[in-house]
């Protein structure tokens, strides 16, 4: 596919491939006037660090430093604009945008509220989520995505690693990294194909390298919910059984296996609808949010 091949599989994160940061905790802590920062994780374009509360009155924060100098400045500006428009309890709070001088040169950094409690990916790796806990999670996440979409912001990289659990509670998720996730479109995939080998949350239109927008977020959230309800990916197995793009699209068109009967009917219907091949059939986050929040709405 245009010179690079995507592979589709889903393995739970066992921490074996933990990235090594380019920055140092002492350096980043000093730049932000705190004691040593703690490395939280890294993505394709940046690193996230924990900043403890400081003497200046700042509470705990997380800072995402754009390490890749090729990251377009205009995108950062556009995404900050999007972040500033979204205010929702289940969307991470945006604090500031600064330029920091690292040893490797100046880098853009986005500062967010820090959410303590780990992320959904880690939770899924160590325990099974009770079905009863998924509905409040779904309602909270759909509300977050609805708010983001209403503000004209598209995430494009919703996945368990980007969902923090406030206080470790599944029912209180916080969507992270919105904005930076815009990188996952056809344009940037062409620029940066190498890190994009595993894409288990990509919607069909993203696999086809077509324009992916709000409905790609609905798809990704549908995949997350399906995994939470079943413990397995709706379309893909482990790395050893990775699928090509064509195989992935064929699996998408065939549809996911049915959900267990123990899943409440409303939730099951929403999740299966969100995993529809055609974007418009998935329904908006707003529609599913309203439906699950008010089960009687729209019924005869």
């Amino acid at each position: 596919m245009d010179g690079f091949e995507l592979l589709f599989y889903y393995d739970l994160d066992d921490g074996a491939d933990a990235p090594t940061p380019q920055g140092s905790g002492a350096e980043i802590g000093r730049l932000f006037g705190t004691s040593a920062a703690r490395f939280l994780g890294a993505g394709s374009f940046g690193e996230t660090w924990y900043l403890p509360a400081d003497a200046a009155g700042n509470s705990e924060r997380a800072v995402k430093i754009i390490m890749n100098p090729l990251y377009p400045a205009k995108r950062i500006e556009a995404e900050i604009s999007g972040l500033q428009r979204v205010s929702h309890a289940n969307v991470v709070g945006f604090v500031d945008h600064v330029t920091v001088s690292l040893a490797i040169g100046p880098r853009e950094a986005l500062v967010f509220d820090y959410v303590d409690g780990g992320d959904l990916s880690s939770k899924l790796a160590i325990e099974t989520i009770p079905v009863a806990a998924v509905l409040p999670f779904a309602i909270a996440m759909l509300g977050a995505v609805e708010a983001m979409h209403a503000a004209g912001t598209v995430h494009r990289d919703i996945k368990p690693e980007n969902i923090a659990l406030r206080g470790g509670e599944v029912g209180d998720p916080v969507l992270l990294d919105l904005g930076l996730a815009r990188l996952l479109d056809a344009e940037t995939m062409t620029l940066y194909p190498a890190p994009m080998g595993t894409c288990p949350f990509m919607a069909p239109e993203q696999v086809r390298l077509e324009r992916a927008s709000k409905q790609a977020d609905v798809w990704a959230l549908g995949v997350v919910l399906y995994i939470m309800l079943t413990g397995r990916h709706p379309f893909f197995g482990p790395r050893t059984a990775a699928k090509t793009s064509e195989e992935a699209l064929a699996a998408y068109q065939a549809g996911p296996p049915p959900l267990p009967t123990a899943v409440p009917a409303d939730l099951a219907e929403s999740v299966m609808t969100m995993l529809s091949y055609e974007p418009h059939v998935r329904g908006s986050a707003r529609r599913h949010h309203r439906r699950l929040s008010n089960p009687l709405e729209g019924r005869p």
């Binding site: 979409h149 927008s213 709000k214 055609e278 974007p279 418009h280 329904g283 908006s284």
Partner: protein, 394 residues
Amino acid sequence: MTLSSEALDFISGRRRLFAVHQSYANAGYRDLLRRVAREVPSAALGSVVSLSTSTPANAAARMALGTRAHIQLADPQLWKHDTSGWPAVKPGEPKKAFTYSWWPSAKPHSAPVDAAWVAEVLQTQRDAGANLLLSATGWVEPSNARKSLDDATRWVQASRDAVLGEPMLVNLAFDLSWLSNPTQRSMLLTELVESTESLWYLRFFWPTNTVRYGQLARADVLDGYAELVAVAAAEDKRLVLANTGLTGWVATALGGAGLSTGNSWPEQAFVDSPGGGGGKGARKERYFDVNVLHTVEHPAQTRLARQTGYVRCTCAYCTSLFGGGPWSHAYAGSHGVMKAAALTEGIISAPNPRASAHATVTSAIAFNARLTGTAALSGNDRPRHLPLWDQLLR
């Protein structure tokens, strides 16, 4: 702008809209609206005036005839502009009739957004007396569909930015391929799902060979209409099908938020009309016959009226039409609007609009099936659309 409770009910999705276009020859419009209001009390009543054939003073005067309506629209009809790409555009003709300062500087959607121009188009609607604004947008080219839709969306956004919180209908005109072609249809439906706009006023350009005063008889297009209104309803969006006549009635039964129609053929359908009575020769005497849900020629109607089980219309226009005087095209058209209103009331006041519409269609099919000999409808009088509607409404 102060809106009535009925208008607010439409905006919030509690009422459907039944809108009547005001013909350029507007004699009797005020009376027609008064009568239509009685036929369709469950709907918000709409009045639509075209700005493309009006001077500012004339537009305001015409709008004043529709003050009975809960919702008053002043449609800039931007698809008529000769840069729009609308295939039936008639260069020069609209310019001659069009006196608004913004008309000469109208641009295709592919041009950069001109916020000042958009604001002027919206203000003109307010000046004319509109109480619900239409976005300053027009024809969406079917070629290079993705880009065309994105371009149109930019102008819709500019209109949204300019209305400063007032309610606004997204006003777009499409080729039928946006309903029949699966790729284009999916794009349009996805836009409908993803958009934050909740009010939509869409029209689809019917083929030139559509039988005048008839209905579309293409299953693929009707399926497209059905999916469009179903998606809109599921997403809690109000989708009004403009200039869609009785096909809009079917769509309303399937979840649409309403329709617009009018006395004349170009008001009943978005078509390329040569104007006048239908081309060469004398204008045909036509009558919308609710017994077959179709507009037939007067002689055919006369034969139908002799059939057992025929239900005569008792509206004021029919009393005059069949009172022995010369045929009145205006009265025949107004009768058609009245029946469309009554049919709309029939479905929107029913607990199950779809089942109600299906019962009406089934009844028309049964009546038509009983016609034999010279009474049997043929040619353009034959209601070819009924079996398709039957399938759609099952």
